[in-house]
Structures are given as structure tokens and as C-alpha cells.
């Protein structure tokens, strides 16, 4: 099945991009469920541009995380192809930012941040210096020797970000990393993430179920369909950078973009529930 690349903003969303990037072609994946085979992904085509921040939104269970796990090398068997045409400059190709509980509880903040370098046998002095650098940028310097259980959720998630950034990969794969945070904390961590990323040239694929988050952070937002997941639309987010995660939400253009993304996602969410009348009204207003 061919995905409809309904490219609203009229920008190249195809895969003929001559520059580097990640080419995902006809990606499919099924799992064995209790009632037979569950098709999680069916024919995902997606061209991620090198250096861009791509947000991916979609209804629950649409296979967003499965797609990311395939890119992260955590799912070995799948159909279709994934090609990374990305200059790594000797650094790791990709690192994943997991959900909050992915921080190792038995390592201190500093040890967590330095983990990627430790397992790559980087010398102690260098890895600690690099880890401290990011911890300072994220305001965690005073908590180097603390264990994650002693931190707040927002701080734990910053440790999670630090671990991936310290590893310095060319591509960052983020699996709803801020999903468990309350709204205010979420905005503050988004601010930190924007600051870290805008100073780098890393390619980011960011899975989220929050429209606001997808738009605040992303250069483009890819909307996925219901299971089996495909890419339904890709929208350009032409908000200037550097962005302010705290102020952007009141911007008129932001609200316009939000409406556009929601229009595309709404059908998927409604058809997912499929129950009936009251859904029509619920779907009218974008969720907060």
C-alpha cells in the first residue's frame, strides 16, 4: 500500500532528497498476538532529512514506538528497508532517549550521563569532563553524586537526555521522553532540549502524543495513521528558531499549525474509537 504524501505545506516530503538522511522504505512489522498476528506497521515510507528535528504523532498503538525501535536496532526482524545516509564523523550513529524509567537507578547522575562513553572505553578524564559539561548545561551539576531515585521526574528526564547527548550520536531517537512529566515541567525540559539541540547538528526523530510538543520542537511533524501504521501527512513547521517553548504556545501561527495537525490526526483518533455519536463533538476541539 502506498502512503499518501499529502504534503500540505507543499514542501518535499518524498524520498528523492539528494542530501543525506534516513530513508525508510515500505517498512512493515507484525507481532504474534493472543488472537493471531498483529500488524503494527504496514508500508511506512519516510525520508528524514539530515540535521532536522522530525516530530512523529499518531493515535495510540499506531506503531510509532515500533518504528523507532526498528531504527534503534532493537527490533531485528521487519519488512522493508532502513538506510542511514548520515555522516557520523567517527561518532556513534544513533542513540535512543528512552522513557523516564530507562535511567539506570543504580548509577549516579554522573555515571548515568557518562554511560555511553564508558561502554565505548573512552578514558575516564574525558568521559567525566563531557558528562559534566552536559550536566552543567542542564542544571544538574549539584546532583552529580545523587541517585535517580533522589531526583524529581523532570531532573531524571534531564539525566536521560544528558546520557544520549553525551554519547554524541549523529541521530537521536526519542520515544516519548517527556510523556510522564506534568505540563509545566514538560515545558521546562522542552526548553532545555531545544537549547541543546539547536546548538548541534543532530538529526532527531521525536515520538510524542502531544500536538503542542510536536509543533514546539519539530521542523516537521509527521502524522501517522491508525494501526497498521503508515505516514499519513507531513507538515512543515515554519516557526523561526531559536524557539521559546514557554512563549510559542500563544503565537498565532502556532495555533494555526496546531489546527492543521489536528485536522489530520482527528480522523485517525475518531476512527480508532469508532463508537459513535458523542465522539464527533469530542473530536471538534483539539485536546489540550
Amino acid at each position: 500500500m502506498q502512503p499518501e504524501h499529502a504534503d500540505r505545506a507543499g514542501v518535499d516530503g518524498g524520498r528523492s532528497d539528494p542530501a543525506g538522511g534516513i530513508d525508510i522504505l515500505n517498512l512493515s512489522k507484525s507481532f504474534d498476538g493472543p488472537e493471531g498476528e498483529i500488524v503494527a506497521l504496514a508500508g511506512v515510507d519516510l525520508a528524514v532529512r539530515e540535521g532536522e528535528f522530525l516530530s512523529v504523532v499518531g493515535p495510540s498503538g499506531c506503531g510509532k514506538t515500533t518504528m523507532l525501535r526498528i531504527l534503534a536496532g532493537l527490533e531485528k526482524s521487519y519488512g522493508g528497508s532502513v538506510e542511514f545516509a548520515i555522516e557520523t564523523g567517527g561518532n556513534p550513529l544513533q542513540s535512543m532517549v528512552f522513557q523516564e524509567q530507562g535511567v539506570f537507578p543504580w548509577l549516579t547522575v554522573l555515571e548515568n550521563a557518562a554511560y555511553g562513553l564508558t561502554v565505548r572505553h573512552v578514558t575516564r578524564d574525558r568521559r567525566l569532563a563531557q558528562a559534566r559539561d552536559y550536566l552543567r548545561k542542564l542544571g544538574l551539576s549539584a546532583f552529580e553524586t545523587a541517585y535517580p531515585s533522589q531526583l524529581s521526574g523532570g531532573m531524571r528526564q534531564r539525566v536521560n537526555l544528558a546520557r544520549a547527548f553525551v554519547n554524541d550520536p549523529a541521530v537521536l531517537l526519542m520515544d516519548e521522553p517527556l510523556g510522564s512529566l506534568d505540563e509545566q515541567t514538560k515545558m521546562l525540559v522542552q526548553t532545555d532540549l531545544l537549547r541543546l539541540w539547536e546548538g548541534s547538528n543532530k538529526t532527531v526523530i521525536f515520538i510524542t502524543h502531544s500536538l503542542d510538543e510536536a509543533i514546539v520542537l519539530g521542523d516537521r511533524v509527521a502524522v501517522m495513521s491508525n494501526r497498521p501504521g503508515r505516514i499519513k501527512t507531513i507538515l512543515d513547521i515554519d516557526l523561526p528558531r531559536p524557539r521559546d517553548a514557554l512563549e510559542l504556545r500563544n503565537n498565532e501561527h502556532f495555533l494555526h499549525l496546531r489546527r492543521a495537525v489536528w485536522d489530520s490526526l482527528r480522523e485517525e483518533v475518531v476512527s480508532l474509537d469508532g463508537a459513535g455519536a458523542d465522539l464527533g463533538t469530542a473530536a471538534q476541539a483539539p485536546p489540550s
Partner: protein
């Protein structure tokens, strides 16, 4: 622990001893069967001074420690290996299922025939309980490691050595500590049991021997020493846990 709790921790054992003493003096319990704490204490001092109770305690402690080491170390290593390697688990699991349910004390005659009536067979008997307990808890500690930690390790391309030292072992440690707490109980039980049966030394020997000559005060004195020894072992488990699992802040009531 707040002040009230700290008070209760000491008040409960002291209260029991005080009640026991009082009931003995009131004649509500027969002091020939259950001598009061004061009489036991006097007997215990005499035994320490004149009858080498300290040497017996030392013998028990040594036997217990060697037995624990002989049981715990291979138990943990085998259990972790079974947890990590699927094929080894498939090979070893039936053997564990076969031998674990046998009442261990029933193996004693067999061990005596195979090994001989000596200290080695005592150590083996003491080690069996901790061995199986640690093997099983080590295996499940690995099998129950949260999937996300393996994913993180894999995504960061963690090599075998770091996977073991930075992920598997620490992730397994809280469960291993729980297994160790059960193991020390079994180890103490095993130590006293073999001392009952064949010992010529040790607290178990003192308790059993005194009972056989109907010297109940001596028997009780031995019991108290073994209780104090067990208490010390239990406290040392708290210290060990604080050292091995420093990321878990728990309050223990001791």
C-alpha cells in the same frame, strides 16, 4: 525511624525478658523447665569462663561462614549463568527441579558415606540450603530485569563485560540481597543441625549435649548465644545491603 519506633525496637525484647523473669519469680512458670533469664545469664558467664563457650561460639561462627561461602558463591555464579544463557538454563533447570525439593537433612547419611564423617561433610550440609536458595534467586533476579535496561544497554552497544558489571549485576542485586537474607537463616539452621548430629564442638553441640544431661540452664545459655549470634548476622546483612545496594534507601527496624 522516629523516636517512638526506636524505643519500641528495644522495648519489645526487653519487655519479653522482664515478663519471663517476673513470671518465674512469681512461680507461674516452673523454673526447672524454663529457668529465668537471670539464672541463664549466670550460667552463661560460668560457661564462658570455665567451659570454653567462647571456643564453641568461634567454631560455630567459622563453620557457618565457610558453609555460607561454599554455598553462596557457586550458587550465585551458577544462578546468574542460568539467568543469562538460555541454553544453560534449559540444561540445568531440570537438575535443580530434581534436587531442590529433597529435604536436605535427609541427604546427610548419603553425604556422610560419600565424604566421610568429618568437617567437610558438615560444611557441605550447611552449604546446601544457601546454595539452592542463591541459585534460584540469582536466576530469577536476572530473568526479572526490566526489559528497558536491556534495551538501553543494547542501544548503547554495551560489550559483555560492561553489560555484566554495569547492568546485569546491579539490576539483579536487590533480589540477590533478598536471597542472601533467606540464605543466612538456612545457613544458621544447617550449622546448628549438623552440630546436633555429629558435632564435637559448636553451640549446637552445647545445646544438644546439655539437654541430653538435662542441664536446661546450660541448654538455654547456648540458645541465647546462638540467638545473639544470629542477631549479629542479621545486622551485618543491613550493613552489607547498604554497601551493595546503595541506591535503595530503605529503613530497617534494627
Amino acid at each position: 525511624m522516629n523516636r517512638a519506633e526506636r524505643f519500641l525496637v528495644f522495648a519489645s525484647p526487653v519487655g519479653v525478658f522482664a515478663l519471663w523473669e517476673a513470671l518465674a519469680h512469681l512461680g507461674w512458670i516452673d523454673v526447672r523447665i524454663l529457668p529465668p533469664p537471670s539464672a541463664v545469664a549466670v550460667t552463661m558467664v560460668v560457661m564462658f569462663r570455665e567451659e570454653g563457650l567462647l571456643d564453641h561460639t568461634g567454631a560455630t561462627a567459622l563453620r557457618f561462614l565457610v558453609g555460607m561461602a561454599v554455598g553462596v558463591v557457586p550458587g550465585v555464579l551458577l544462578g546468574l549463568t542460568m539467568g543469562i544463557f538460555r541454553w544453560f538454563r534449559a540444561f540445568a533447570n531440570p537438575l535443580v527441579a530434581l534436587f531442590y525439593p529433597i529435604p536436605r537433612i535427609a541427604l546427610f547419611p548419603l553425604v556422610l558415606i560419600l565424604v566421610g564423617l568429618n568437617e567437610t561433610s558438615n560444611i557441605i550440609m550447611i552449604a546446601l540450603g544457601p546454595f539452592f536458595t542463591m541459585l534460584i534467586s540469582a536466576m530469577y533476579s536476572v530473568l526479572n530485569i526490566d526489559r528497558i535496561y536491556r534495551d538501553v544497554a543494547e542501544n548503547f552497544e554495551t560489550g559483555p563485560r560492561h553489560l555484566y558489571t554495569m547492568v546485569t549485576l546491579p539490576a539483579a542485586m536487590p533480589t540477590l540481597m533478598g536471597g542472601l537474607r533467606i540464605s543466612v537463616g538456612l545457613g544458621l539452621l544447617g550449622t546448628v543441625a549438623v552440630e546436633f548430629l555429629v558435632g564435637e564442638s559448636g553451640i549446637g553441640h552445647v545445646i544438644w549435649n546439655s539437654w541430653q544431661v538435662l542441664s536446661l540452664q546450660r541448654s538455654m545459655a547456648g540458645l541465647v548465644v546462638s540467638a545473639v549470634f544470629g542477631f549479629a548476622v542479621y545486622l551485618s546483612m543491613d550493613l552489607l545491603e547498604r554497601y551493595l545496594v546503595p541506591w535503595q534507601q530503605k529503613s530497617t527496624a534494627a
